[in-house]
């Protein structure tokens, strides 16, 4: 009986929780279940979700990328600087930050694959290095339209409307960042679940030794995962800049742990038991809906972390209790 309950919670727990939360908030607030509010919720989770997708890829190959927050911060100020300081055309403003993300991913892969530092420690180091880089790059200032420069005078450029549309505009009544998030979630889901590469990613994470002995170049796969993670972090950075309309310093730092939490909550979505793109989206959604509802109910913001932590604990408890049950019935 207890085993069955855990198995049920493992499969449908996160979704049941999401439905219960929505029902509860709908009953206490008439504003909660409205189109505007849901559009708000989705927009608020879009950046975290994109960041979390990158983390998902590294967790799939049994790695862990702690540097995504810093990479996002770097991409945020870099994007802003390209517009405000250098007044570059839009396509370069969108392309160059991605290249920065690729570079961070390659640096992480170098530490992990070539030098052999464990994933968590390597990306912890690069988290500091990249965070320091982005502060040094702006000399500690945030970047905004026509800002005064330390070299004297004011910056030549400003954010174009086309760029701000990416973060603030609507398409067919849905915010643009939500479109981008949806497309990336679906693309990641298809890649990981339906393509040959996705299969190789999961197998590498499941048993690197067996994968090697099946002819997979595990180092190459790990490198790919970290580069993808860097790219997603950069996209999150670009979105953030476009959403806020300025290059805020340290934008990504608070989002790192939220992204990681979303991925782990996602483990227990539909009984996957492993990192997965849809789960990551649901994880971000559960946390997003909960915070939105609690805000409507006037819960003070400083109590929010208690809620986030509790959701994470519940999700992890179900995942690991299920794994323990399963392994005890499987062992000889």
């Amino acid at each position: 009986m207890k085993d069955k309950l855990i198995a049920f919670l493992f499969k449908y727990g996160a979704i049941t929780l999401l439905i219960l939360i929505i029902c509860y908030f709908t009953s206490v607030s008439s504003f909660f279940l409205t189109y505007d509010n849901f559009s708000d919720i989705l927009r608020s989770i879009s950046i975290v979700t994109v960041l979390a997708l990158g983390v998902t890829f590294t967790l799939v190959v049994d790695g862990f990328d702690l540097s995504v927050g810093s990479t996002m911060s770097l991409a945020t100020v870099f994007t802003a600087s390209l517009m405000v300081w250098y007044d570059l055309p839009l396509w370069l403003v969108l392309l160059l930050p991605i290249i920065v993300g690729v570079a961070v991913g390659l640096f992480n892969s170098f530490l992990i694959v070539v030098i052999g530092i464990p994933d968590l420690l390597a990306t912890l180091s690069s988290m500091y290095i990249v965070a320091g880089l982005h502060r040094t790059y702006t000399e500690g200032y945030s970047i905004y339209n026509h800002m005064p420069l330390t070299s004297g005078g004011t910056a030549i450029g400003a954010f174009s409307n086309a760029f701000l549309w990416i973060g603030q505009g609507h398409l067919l009544g849905i915010p643009v960042p939500v479109w981008i998030m949806m497309i990336l979630v679906l693309a990641s889901y298809c890649f990981l679940n339906y393509t040959r590469w996705g299969r190789i990613f999961y197998m590498t994470g499941g048993n690197a030794e067996a994968a090697t002995l099946s002819g997979v170049k595990v180092k190459k796969i790990k490198c790919m995962a970290y580069v993808i993670s860097g790219i997603f972090a950069s996209i999150a950075g670009v979105l953030f800049t476009a959403r806020v309309g300025s290059g805020q310093i340290d934008a990504g730092a608070p989002l790192l742990m939220e992204a990681v939490a979303a991925v782990f909550v996602g483990y227990s979505v539909l009984g996957a038991g492993k990192p997965n793109a849809l789960g990551t989206f649901f994880g971000a959604a559960v946390i997003g809906v909960l915070l939105n509802g609690l805000t409507i109910m006037n819960l003070p913001y400083y109590a929010f972390d208690i809620i986030k932590g509790t959701v994470l604990v519940l999700a992890l408890a179900v995942t690991y209790m299920y794994a323990k049950n399963k392994s005890s019935t499987n062992s000889l």
């Binding site: 298809c190 339906y194 393509t195 040959r196 299969r199 190789i200 999961y202 197998m203 499941g206 048993n207 030794e209 067996a210 994968a211 090697t212 002995l213 099946s214 002819g215 997979v216 170049k217 499987n330 000889l332």
Partner: protein, 512 residues
């Protein structure tokens, strides 16, 4: 005879459907060196793990000093004075601690109180080492600096600071040089003099006759005999170890005519592998015989490109190839069925289908996406050819029995492109029915013209399927037998480091 210190009676233990021990019996007297012998899978290590409290027996009892003892945890066994010096000494040594601290480690975890005196610690540790006649060890150096042989001494000393009745030596000489082994024997004799019962497990027969007082031979989880060393000969031991279990099984290999050369190794060197050369021909099954630790697995992994050779050449179908990664080996048509199937061969939490199609995923891609239908069809084919017992292709590999898991590992590699098969202990942990099917499958592959290297320490199996057997000892090929000339006794003799002394093909003495 002196008094009995340990008695194990009718011990049985099964893992799932596998009976590892049926009737484990062992009687050890005070001050006796007791050799425990048996082929792989005879149940020696299971019996010893029960004795040291790692496993619990299903049935049977253990008497220490004629009192029944119940071991539920390794700590219980230690409290009764039973210690084990494991083969893998590094798992029991804490490298950062000093020699003295390592010797006294068990004391730390047992004694109450908050503080300990460094002086007292050193005095007791030194005392233990003196008992062993070891006077040249610096108590203050970190254990990580010690050689393997010295680490063993530390573990033995650790047992001596307690009231020890029995010490189990689990293949202690496997990693040692000849001189280090001699020294260890001196220490073991020293222990005998102190009245401690020593259980000595080894695969090297000459050592048994050099040191043991009593020999117990096990086979198929049973005790076959226990006799004083002066009443038994090497030939008798080998006969008892092998038994006649496989007698009804005739040689199932087909006659074969030597085809084209498919694989050639020339002077391969890597780590313990020394100057390995060999040729394998189309349709031929070549057995590589050797005991645990002889270097068979290392050789298989080198051929497969997982641990590329330091020097030497590998030729596939007459062409020199560079095998730096399994990917390159697979491209040359080489496949590898690894020894540690759960660790190296399978994705244990994935479905049969995902495991089977993994090496050739490209075949199942349609318009960029995986074609699940084609995958399932291919998997069902493998399931029916290899007679895997399963509900369907979407069952997790975890739920299959050992034999069926092994079939999946083999099934991964059944394709037209594969020319060379490396089987590393393919029947390990597999029941007798599946074993026979696997051996038949290997014969079938050979008939299709594949070249097969069969690495095994199961000599009877080698005799059953191989056209030719090469014997490995300590990283070198020491002997080659054709199918007609090979016998169990001769292979085991060479694999244990012995040599035939006279020329009539009869063994009368074994020497290293």
């Amino acid at each position: 005879m002196s008094e009995v210190v340990l008695e194990m009676k009718k011990i049985s233990k099964s893992f799932g459907q596998v009976m590892a021990l049926r009737d484990g019996e062992l009687v050890v007297h005070k001050g006796e060196i007791h050799a425990l012998l048996g082929a792989n899978g005879a149940g020696k290590s299971t019996l010893m793990k029960i004795l040291s409290g790692v496993y619990r027996q299903d049935q049977g009892e253990i008497l220490v000093n004629n009192e029944e003892a119940l071991f539920q945890h390794p700590r219980d066994a230690k409290e009764k004075g039973i210690f084990c010096v494991y083969q893998e000494v590094d798992t029991a040594i804490v490298p950062q601690l000093t020699v003295a601290e390592n010797i006294m480690l068990d004391r730390f975890s047992q004694e109450k109180g908050w503080f300990f005196s460094r002086k007292e610690l050193h005095r007791q540790a030194q005392e233990a080492l003196t008992l062993l006649d070891v006077n040249d060890m610096d108590l203050n150096q970190a254990a990580s600096n010690l050689s393997l042989a010295k680490k063993q001494l530390v573990l033995i000393a650790r047992a001596l600071v307690q009231t020890t009745k029995v010490i189990i030596f689990d293949e202690p000489t496997a990693p040692l040089s000849h001189r280090e082994a001699e020294k260890l024997f001196h220490v073991i004799r020293q222990l005998r003099g102190k009245g401690i019962g020593c259980i000595f497990i080894t695969h090297r027969l000459p050592e048994v006759f050099a040191i043991a007082d009593v020999v117990t031979v096990m086979r198929d989880g049973r005790r076959i005999s226990t006799v004083p060393i002066d009443q038994i000969t090497q030939e008798m031991v080998i006969e008892q170890m092998l038994g006649e279990v496989w007698h009804e099984e005739s040689k199932i290999m087909h006659s074969y005519k030597r085809g084209e050369e498919v694989l050639a190794l020339k002077n391969i060197n890597l780590g313990k592998l020394q100057n390995i050369s060999l040729n394998v021909y189309e349709g031929e099954v070549v057995g590589i015989a050797g005991l645990v630790g002889a270097g068979k697995t290392e050789l298989a992994k080198t051929i497969f490109g997982n641990t590329p050779a330091k020097s030497g050449e590998i030729m596939v179908s007459g062409k020199k190839v560079q095998l730096k990664h399994p990917k390159a080996a697979i491209a040359c048509g080489i496949t590898h069925i690894p020894e540690e199937r759960r660790k190296e061969g399978l994705f244990i939490n994935e479905t049969i289908s995902k495991n089977v199609t993994f090496p050739q995923l490209k075949k199942y891609v349609r318009a960029g996406f995986m074609n699940r239908k084609a995958e399932r069809k291919a998997t069902e084919e493998v399931i029916s050819t290899l007679q895997v017992k399963t509900k369907d292709a979407e069952v997790e590999v975890n739920h299959l029995s050992g034999g069926n898991q092994q079939k999946i590992v083999i099934g991964k590699w059944l394709s037209d492109e594969a020319k060379i098969y490396l089987f590393d202990e393919p029947t390990k942990g597999v029941d007798i029915g599946a074993k026979r099917e696997i051996l038949k499958l290997i014969q079938q592959l050979a008939k299709e013209g594949k070249a097969i290297l069969y690495f095994s320490s199961e000599i009877q199996e080698l005799l059953t399927v191989c056209h030719r057997v090469l014997v490995m000892y300590d990283g070198k090929f020491v002997k080659e037998f054709t199918q007609e000339k090979a016998t169990k006794e001769k292979i085991l003799l060479y694999a244990s480091g012995g040599k035939e002394v006279n020329h009539e093909g009869q063994i009368d003495r074994i020497s290293i």
